[in-house]
């Protein structure tokens, strides 16, 4: 009855000749409904590029101490033959750091002549650890709460959903500052604090997924066969909830890395170690930025590539697995 007007096809990926420029408005219209081919979903090359970067940076971060990187805290002062302005003698005199990128220090050094490349790689250790711990906490706690709410429903669901709602309405970063300032600035505290903020979004997704899967045949079948609720939760529902949750977890890692950087900028980052945020902060003062921009921009490059990769992979995966919810990725 509806004739050719099926729901319009997705705008096609095909390249289009230029002479029809006039008509872009309807270009996405009428399109391919006549042929009715659903386009195959592709994860895309970008996904693998992003994944490769993450594998590389994780590898470098884990094995940084044994890889031939320079000592991150050593001061590589360079000396040169120079006339001493007082004595007039030619002697070895230290050159004022920071040094710009060169063969020895690929990304230059900071004001204390420390190697930026090495410091960035070592910074990845803390930043990635914060991201991973946060995601882990978010998935374990949020996933558990969300699945319980979605499977048992009733009062339990109401209470848990209310907790999620409060958490989502809370000015999160201020909470993080409060906790970190009042408790301590250890890796664990910072990760858990940011992780608490990730519980609600992950939990809501887990709840929604559980709700939809709990009605499916395989779960009903298991129930009629007399399987225990805990068994259904773990064996039947968990595998189905895990994929969408892990796509979200990548986003959580990205946000956690950014949040840690934000805390660092406010002077509240992990005590004793340098994270990317701290490294950027070191280089972000007017003088340093003016004379040696690489001090800030090199670690920023690492941070950006990593955050963008996690963001992009999460985005692609959610598209691929059809995880339908819009998440705001801003810090």
């Amino acid at each position: 009855m509806t004739d050719e007007n099926h729901s319009p096809a997705e705008p096609s990926e095909m390249e289009v000749s230029e002479e029809h420029e006039h008509d872009e408005v309807s270009a996405t219209e009428a399109g391919l409904e006549e042929s009715g081919f659903a386009e195959k979903k592709k994860i895309g090359v970008g996904f693998w590029i992003a994944a490769s970067w993450l594998v590389l940076i994780t590898f470098l971060a884990i094995f940084a101490p044994v890889l031939p990187f320079k000592e991150p805290n050593q001061n590589f002062i360079v000396f040169e033959q120079k006339e001493n302005p007082i004595t007039g003698k030619i002697q070895d005199r230290p050159v004022q750091p920071p040094y710009s990128p060169n063969g020895d220090h690929w990304l230059g050094t900071d004001q204390d002549a420390r190697d930026i490349l090495s410091r960035s790689i070592h910074g990845a250790r803390i930043s990635l650890a914060v991201g991973a711990l946060t995601a882990l906490f978010g998935i374990v706690v949020g996933g558990a709460l969300g699945m319980i709410a979605g499977y048992f429903k009733g009062i339990l669901d109401k209470v848990i959903s209310a907790i999620f709602l409060v958490s989502l309405s809370f000015p999160g970063l201020i909470l993080a500052i409060l906790v970190v300032a009042l408790v301590d600035r250890s890796l664990i505290t910072i990760s858990i604090t940011i992780g608490i903020l990730a519980v609600a979004p992950i939990g809501r997704l887990a709840r929604a997924q559980t709700l939809s899967f709990a009605e499916r045949e395989f779960v009903l079948a298991a129930e009629t066969l007399g399987a225990k609720k805990s068994r259904i939760l773990v064996r039947e529902l968990l595998p189905n909830v895990l994929i969408p949750m892990s796509t979200l977890a990548m986003l959580v890692i990205a946000i956690a890395i950014v949040a840690e950087g934000t805390l660092a900028f406010l002077g509240l980052s992990v005590q004793g170690s340098s994270t990317w945020g701290k490294l950027i902060l070191t280089g972000s003062g007017l003088q340093t930025l003016e004379s040696s921009p690489w001090v800030a921009f090199a670690p920023m490059g690492f941070l950006f590539l990593t955050v963008a990769s996690f963001n992009y992979m999460s985005d692609r995966l959610r598209d691929f697995f059809d995880v339908r919810e819009i998440f705001v990725t801003r810090d």
Partner: protein
């Protein structure tokens, strides 16, 4: 109905017009060599099932298909070649279109009056006041009660019939030379359908524009269209003046189409005969007649050869074994005898030729 008063001015002339969509599997031939002429003041009904290419054909003529297509052949509108040109200059002035579902084709967040007066303001240089006045006039003309109040209402506040009347007044506001009505009544209540159709024909006659009604329902065409063109698989199956078509129906597809739809004058509980099977694949379609696979008359050569168009006066059809000829009767008899067609389709016990 009255082809003796034919006006010499040909408004629209198609010659071997083809439209293909580029797809991953290759070119989808949605319209595969269509030729016809349409004169001012005439109504043409293009009839066919879903996927027969009739909507694509007309959106193609309008130039509304976007850029992902291959167009070839010729479409002349008022003597001007349209194929592979920008047809924007005709939109809202010389060509207008009425879409199938007035709910989705009216902007949900814009007052209906504004949607009617928009082309008046844009193309006829009317002031806001003039355009409003004219819109209210048009609303009255198409039978919308309390027209000046309706002006400030939104589509969702109107009934389906009222919305389609709004659509018609948009078309009237444009005063086009060619109006294409794409299944104008399909989404409407049966009781409203007839009124809307008659209204369309009435305004078409009054303003002497040419109109193409796209429909899947031969009944809609009957008594309203001057000519009927039956399409299948992107090709013209049969083309004739309306009365001729109904009286001397030649193509088995036309016949099958007619017996697949209910008629008002049918006795109660008349069994309808659906056409078995589905429209052909337009990317990698059959070599022979597109309809062969579903045709009760199909012989071996129907599967391999494309039938030429037979022209008898103003009646033309593309079939080797047309109804009402000896060849057709023989073909059907031989199929009935072996119990199936050349394509393997089982023959129904009763074949009714109308």
């Amino acid at each position: 109905m009255s082809h003796e008063t034919e006006t010499p001015s040909t408004l629209l002339k198609l010659d071997d017009y083809r439209v293909g969509f580029r797809t991953e599997r290759g070119l989808a031939k949605a319209v595969d060599g269509v030729s016809y002429e349409l004169n001012s003041g005439k109504t043409l009904a293009i009839v066919g099932e879903s996927g027969s290419g009739k909507t694509v054909l007309n959106r193609g003529i309008m130039g509304l298909l976007g850029s992902n297509i291959n167009e070839s052949g010729s479409v002349k509108f008022q003597g001007e070649e349209l194929v592979n040109t920008n047809r924007q200059k005709f939109w809202g002035k010389k060509m207008a279109m009425i879409f199938q579902d007035p709910m989705t084709s009216l902007n949900p967040v814009m007052k209906v009056g504004k949607q009617v007066s928009e082309p008046l303001r844009l193309h006829q240089g009317m002031s806001r006041k003039e355009a409003r006045h004219r819109t209210v006039e048009l609303f009255t003309l198409v039978g919308i009660p309390e027209p000046s109040q309706r002006f400030d209402e939104y589509p969702h506040q109107l009934s389906g019939g009222m919305r389609q009347r709004v659509m018609i007044s948009i078309a009237l506001a444009i005063e086009p030379d060619l109006l294409i009505a794409d299944e104008p009544t399909t989404s409407l209540d049966v009781t409203v359908q007839k009124y809307i159709l008659d209204l369309l024909v009435e305004v078409q006659k009054e303003s002497n524009m040419a109109m193409t009604i796209i429909t899947h329902d031969l009944g809609v065409a009957r008594g309203r269209a001057d000519e009927i063109l039956v399409m299948y698989g992107g090709r013209v199956m049969e083309h004739a003046p309306a009365e001729t078509l109904f009286n001397e129906m030649a193509h088995p597809y036309t016949s099958a189409l007619l017996s697949s739809i209910p008629k008002l004058d049918d006795p109660k509980h008349t069994r309808l005969t659906p056409i078995e099977g589905f429209p052909p694949d337009i990317v990698d379609g059959p070599d022979g007649c597109k309809f062969a696979a579903r045709c009760q008359y199909a012989q071996e050569n129907c599967l391999s050869e494309l039938p030429d168009t037979t022209v008898k006066g103003d009646h033309s059809y593309a079939c080797f074994y047309p109804i009402g000829t000896d060849e057709g009767a023989k073909a059907f008899a031989s199929n009935a005898e072996r119990g199936h067609t050349a394509a393997g389709l089982k023959i129904r016990a009763k074949e009714e030729v109308i």
